[in-house]
């Protein structure tokens, strides 16, 4: 299982991987610090799942989501954002996000994602 985590915060990337490793020990993680780098890694690594922040320099998470979905509709994308506005969540879901999670990332969210991966990642 290949998971690409795209977030401009190093702390957030570390927390996501730390929590997910506990529930998905078999997963292989890749990280990117902005949308552009995330898109490059998406093309290079072909991840099964992506976890994307929204507010990032160079290319926002919504732009990255749109680009990823245009290239590969089957890639599962989870948005992890500090923006808790309902309209932002609706936009992300409309663009094809599988789920919208709000920061900070917690162990229970990791378990939620693991359940989602085991259902849809097969």
């Amino acid at each position: 299982l290949k998971i690409l985590v795209v977030d401009d915060s190093m702390l957030c990337r570390k927390m996501v991987i730390k929590h997910l490793q506990e529930v998905l020990p078999q997963a292989k993680f890749f990280t990117a610090a902005n949308g552009k780098e995330g898109y490059r890694l998406f093309q290079e690594k072909a991840p099964d799942f992506m976890i994307i922040d929204l507010l990032m320099p160079e290319m926002t998470g919504l732009e990255l989501l749109q680009q990823v979905k245009q290239d590969s509709a089957e890639t599962k994308v989870i948005i992890l954002s500090a923006d808790v506005q309902k309209i932002t969540q609706q936009e992300a879901i409309k663009l094809g996000a599988l789920k919208f999670l709000t920061k900070p990332f917690t162990q229970s969210q990791a378990e939620e994602i693991a359940a989602l991966f085991s259902n849809k990642g097969e």
Partner: protein, 217 residues
Amino acid sequence: MLSAEQKDALREYMNIFMGQAASHLFDLVNQKIVLSISDLKVVHSKDNSACDGIEPAEQHDIPLDFQGNIVSSSIRFGKQFSGKAHLIFTVEATQKLIKLCMNENLDPNYALPCDLTDTDYDAIKEIGNTVLNSITGGFGNLLGIPLEIELPEVKVLSSFKLEENDINLEEKYLLIFYNSFSLQELVLEGAVVVVLSIDSINMLLHKIDEVLMESEA
């Protein structure tokens, strides 16, 4: 004074607090709030002598690119963790924001009055209270301490200067967070500035170091 990891973590938490505040603002104006990435800096507040490249507060460069007078709605919080948080708009943006909150139509040909009315002051005080409590509450939750929050005050200023906003410049260092945002359907920009005292900076950094250690574990 701040390591890259501490700065990254502080910025991330500020983004989270801003996201929560934006949700409250959205509820008030019913328009999507377009957020920007938060930034922060440490300024040197009293002694102007060179100190680790930290600039003096009098020359601080908070990128508030506002034309004309600004309205600053601010709250003080303390005592264990203390500082002051400001929500800033231009006078015109404040008036537009209040009209949105009141569900009044904004006729583009309507010339807004130059001064704020008593109703405007009252409304922006409430908006500031809602948004800034969300942000300061975020700091309190992160630190696990209740914050004593004073009633908000509203001032019209020609520009944003620390000394004009009654910050205690007896402190040697100040940590300033700032974030600008806009409303999607209406060109209207605002900013949030949070200034912390040195004891509060140390308290926050201690907590951030704990979080960073946890993330490494």
